[in-house]
Symmetry: C2
Subunit: 256 residues, 2 copies
């Protein structure tokens, strides 16, 4: 049974996609079999692996409306051991199209349960906001991971996020567990980074990953080359941080 | 007739709220009468002015469900000439609650047309994504303003945004005009900033504001003090940039 981890935070621009792409790559690099599901109509995770979104490929939208199985919509990436189910703007229509469906928040979960999942990890990259797609991700997942940008507004949004998670656990997915919290775009020159780090550690205790992801220009350049930072510049501080994070995640792995 | 400007970009974390708060403040500082409507359940614009979201005052949610008029939900801010209609997480329920309403994208427009609007500028801070709230903002507005972060993913999202705008103009609001594009978090040490700036200028021509908003730590610190950057540190590069932007916006003002 793979670990199905939703990467979520309703605040925009906090590093959800960057974490999905680079953490998945770092785990694949140490021989874990990984699947990334891009569940954001922006399709940034798809672009982060250099894949063309408009190529007519079956994607997560077709899986949700049952025009393709998960397997049919899965493609290889440039990273060995790492597959992806892509997304594009068609996905923004899914919310309205599936409005009348019974148990509409369970659609992704049902599609995942339809067949064997030959992966150790499945990461679901969530869009910003708290909508239909995010609820589907949190219902399908057995864990969730929260990237928190080291900024004030990102900190403020955490209590909302936890209220939403509580509602999801009560009504949709009682087994959903917090995998951890990752601090992103940490900048030691900016006193706000330490303020946020301290507050987050107070709120979440030992659920906060020790690895801090630094603000690193190579991380933000990598997507324009269609590569994860580990392939774009493996010596960079950004690449090393995500490799370190992958190692830390393995230590927390539940003994199965 | 005030200029009603929706500040929008479906990409998260690009500086929508920061632009709404600080541009509005800069215009109010030169005697323009300004209203900010916080249309994001995160309520970041509300916090950006140091206002408590949970205090029980009427907010934009009550306006949309017709439990308060716009006037009843409007409060003063610490900035003279600047009022706000606040938001909190209740707003995330509006989408579902108003699902059955006829012409549901026109609700905000109707509420704005109910009474005189004693303002020169009304800025609507939109949430990330392309949902019910953003469609309401783009239908109520006579102009839209696009903040673009100087990053690759933000650049990639522009063509989606323009497709959405085209649909809005065809179906919901034919008079919607582009006010302009603002480049945010410009960092001259990062070559990506120039790459994005050039591409955006090619795409939008003279609709791109000359003023570049620099990445500036005082801008990101200001919300934790509940103040726009102009009040928090008016000598900072960030404060000056937004003051400069306000001046530029006035030059473009249609002669009414
Ligand atoms: N550690 C980092 N250092 C530098 N830039 C970063 C870092 N992490 C992310 N970025 C950049 O910051 C921007 C926001 O990150 P990203 O798009 O991953 O956030 P997101 O939460 O997925 O956004 P959205 O809410 O739109 O889905 C991107 O342009 C990305 O390249
Ligand atoms: N010019 C700047 N310099 C430094 N930090 C900035 C700048 N502009 C915005 N920020 C910071 O970047 C983060 C994202 O900005 P902001 O929240 O305004 O974006 P947004 O588009 O409103 O996000 P969302 O999509 O979640 O609504 C915030 O923490 C903000 O303080
Ligand atoms: Mg993303
Ligand atoms: Mg915002």
């Amino acid at each position: 049974m793979p670990q199905i981890i939703a990467i979520t935070n309703q605040k925009g621009g906090v590093g959800k996609t960057t974490t999905a792409v680079n953490l998945a790559t770092a785990l694949a690099a140490i021989e874990k079999r990984v699947l990334v599901i891009d569940l954001d109509p922006q399709g940034n995770a798809t672009t982060g692996f250099g894949i063309d979104k408009e190529e007519g490929q079956k994607n997560i939208y077709h899986v949700l409306i049952q025009q393709a199985s998960l397997e049919e919509a899965t493609v290889k990436t440039i990273v060995p051991n790492l597959h992806i189910v892509t997304a594009n703007m068609d996905l923004s229509g899914a919310d309205i199209e599936l409005m009348e469906r019974h148990n509409r928040e369970h659609i992704l979960k049902e599609r995942l349960n339809d067949q064997p999942l030959p992966y150790d990890y499945i990461f679901i990259d969530c869009p910003p906001g708290i909508g239909f797609l995010t609820l589907n991700a949190l219902t399908a997942a057995n864990q969730y991971l929260i990237p928190v940008q080291c900024e004030f507004y990102a900190l403020e949004g955490l209590s909302h996020l936890m209220r939403l998670i509580k509602r999801v656990k009560n009504k949709l997915n009682p087994t959903l567990d917090l995998n951890g919290v990752i601090l992103t775009m940490y900048d030691k020159r900016n006193s706000l980074s330490d303020l946020v780090t301290e507050d987050v550690k107070q709120f979440f205790g030992d659920k906060v990953y020790q690895t801090l992801i630094p603000r690193n220009v190579r991380i933000s350049e990598a997507p324009s080359h269609g590569k994860p930072v580990m392939l774009y510049d493996h010596r960079s501080a950004g690449s090393e941080a995500y490799a370190h994070l992958a190692g830390e995640m393995l230590q927390h792995e539940p003994q199965t």
